[in-house]
Amino acid sequence: MNESNHLPKQIKTVWRISATIHALILVIIGIVGMVAHHFFDQQWLLYAAGFFFAAAVIDFIIEIALVPYRYSFWLYTITDDAVELRSGFIFRELVSIPIARVQDVTLSAGPILQSQKLQEVRVTTASDSHTIDGVEPEVGEELRKQIMKLAVEVGKNDV
């Protein structure tokens, strides 16, 4: 379990669904603008609606286009004593979170993640927190076990 892992394949679907939802929210705001224009006859409402439609299209195209990029350049590794997150191609960053510093781990799943049987993992240290967008439930379980194992050490070196 020491080699780098890609996020599960299903995460691409999750990202595509959430991109669609983001775009839909913008479209709905635009439609509300159009409806308001119909009732109040204010010219600026029409421009605002147009702006939101354009934003929806651009946002959708960018988010969908970036899905493969995000998938191939976002890797995580869980070793015996650290969680490592590697991201980016143009701006590369390798983040390491020693498990001994982890204060808590939150596993959560909204409806989209649930439909793909995934969980979002949020690892919190005393100062910051890091998110793994989606993992299979077994990985979350393993992380939880390792943190429990190292919890003794945390007691000594707490803030």
Partner: protein, 484 residues
């Protein structure tokens, strides 16, 4: 001992509550002015009487608040009960206390009253976990005694190292040298933004004058008014320097540092004495700061990065340990207080001179974001913004020249420069919460990398970044950080 029963604050705290909420009260009076005047006339009393009634209501409200505000000091924890409609009970176990801060105005000294703020490492609120606005000094002494008793036991459990045990009995004291404080106040860069703002006003004023007077008034008068503006400008600059000087003097007047039982205690201030107590083991990192003028004067400032927001409100919540100390004395003065501090300044590794170019390039590019719109929109006046370019280049050079790093005895020392001020951080390995190694795709060719380290600071995170260091060194630091 009667301390196990709920205790009230000092009755004068009612005044504190009223004063603290005076804006609410004023707002209330203003918005209710109309209705009260109307209603008073309607029921046939003088409007003034109506207002008196409102004020009595406000006072009563705060009196009730005072009556409902109690605290208990028992053997294991401090409990604070407050709230009239929504009851709130805060329990703080003594070993979890990070800092105890007390502030005392000079006029409260004869009454032995002070404001007490107690903080833990919890992130939830931006305000301290417990605030006792006005209590007798003995309350703090009692809490400190309880905490010391408990933390002694905790230290034994955590298998204190021999040095720590040795230093348990050592007490050390330090008081700021008035001469050094003077130098410190005079070398503050705090006046520069004020001067900048004044120059901008001066520019505006000069611009306005010719428009109004150019046709009707002779050149002599224009000339004279310019002189007057000049004099006024200089006066304001002198005043602002004096103001910033006095501010620093009153804040750090008779700054004292005391340590005993592994607890560090600072005390400072002229009109309002402010004191913070923290266990030395709870200090997350040390920061040694110098602005460019203080670099020339060979003096430094030492601050502690802590997990609570006690300390200076205006100084990023850092806890001041030594406001001003001569460079060659820094660690000699520091080690009696913080036993894990290095014994002397280490010779840091620094960047290759060629790397400075990246800092200079980035700073210059950033300055262009301001300069280009200025030139485009304001033409001639906008060209004044070109002055920013050499400043930005100097800043980039400064940042590059002051970047340094070193790993020594389980501690990482990082140094960087920002806006003509240099900070050196001494971070024990165990306090680094997470870290990262970053590189852009171009930097993989130039073999450079950034190292970022996250530590707990106040209620949030502080990222310390060392930029453009050689890839190999970056990997070395990263691998050292990975050691458990």
């Amino acid at each position: 001992m009667t301390s196990n029963k709920p205790q009230h604050l000092n009755p004068l705290a009612i005044l504190y509550f009223i004063f603290g909420h005076s804006w609410d009260a004023i707002f209330l009076i203003i918005i209710s002015a109309g209705p009260i005047a109307h209603f008073s006339r309607y029921i046939g009393i003088a409007p003034l009487l109506g207002f008196a009634g409102l004020i009595i209501l406000i006072v009563l409200w705060h009196t009730v608040r005072y009556l409902y505000f109690t605290f208990e000091i028992d053997d294991k924890m401090l409990t604070i009960n407050s709230g009239i409609l929504v009851k709130k009970h805060t329990h703080i176990p003594y070993p979890k206390i990070q800092t105890i801060q007390h502030t005392q105005w000079f006029f409260l000294v004869p009454f032995h009253l002070e404001k007490l703020q107690i903080e833990t490492a919890g992130h939830d609120s931006t305000s301290p976990e417990a605030v006792l606005p006005l209590v007798n000094e003995r309350i703090r002494e009692e809490i400190e005694r309880k905490r010391m008793g408990d933390s002694g036991v905790a230290a034994d459990q955590a298998e204190a190292t021999p040095e720590q045990k040795q230093s348990t009995d050592d007490a050390a004291n330090y008081e700021i040298d008035p001469h050094e404080l003077n130098v410190f106040a005079l070398t503050s860069l705090g006046v520069f933004p004020i001067i900048g703002a004044l120059l901008a006003i001066y520019g505006k004023a000069q611009e306005a004058i010719p428009e109004k007077f150019i046709n009707s008034v002779t050149n002599v008068i224009i000339h004279q008014s310019a002189i007057i503006i000049g004099i006024v400008g200089i006066l304001i600059i002198i005043l602002s320097i004096a103001g910033s000087y006095l501010l620093i003097i009153t804040r750090y007047y008779k700054f004292r540092l005391h340590s005993s039982n592994n607890q560090l205690k600072t005390e400072q201030g002229m009109f309002q004495r402010n004191s913070v107590t923290i266990p030395t083991a709870r200090i997350q990192a040390l920061q040694i700061k110098q602005n460019v003028i203080r670099q020339w004067c060979h003096i430094s400032t030492v601050q502690a990065v802590t997990a609570s927001s006690a300390g200076d409100d205006e100084d990023d919540n850092d806890l001041m340990i030594l406001p001003v100390v001569k460079n060659n004395q820094v660690f000699k003065t520091l080690t009696p207080f913080v036993n894990w501090a290095p014994k002397q300044f280490s010779q840091l590794e620094s960047l290759n001179k060629r790397t400075y170019w990246y800092f200079i390039r980035n700073a210059a590019l950033l300055s262009l974001i301001v300069i280009l719109p200025c030139l485009y929109f304001f033409h001639l006046w906008g060209s004044l913004s070109l002055l920013m370019l050499p400043i930005a280049i100097l800043m980039g050079w400064y940042a590059g020249a002051n970047t340094g790093w070193k790993i020594i005895d389980g501690q990482l020392i990082l140094q960087n420069g920002h806006f003509f001020s240099r900070s050196q951080y001494v971070i024990p390995h165990k306090n680094i919460q997470s870290f990262s190694f970053a590189q852009s795709i171009w930097m993989t060719h130039t073999k450079l990398a950034h190292i970022r380290v996250n530590i707990r600071h106040g209620d949030t995170n502080q990222e310390i970044e060392i930029r453009y260091l050689p890839e190999k060194t970056g990997k070395e630091i990263f691998n050292w950080l990975k050691i458990r």
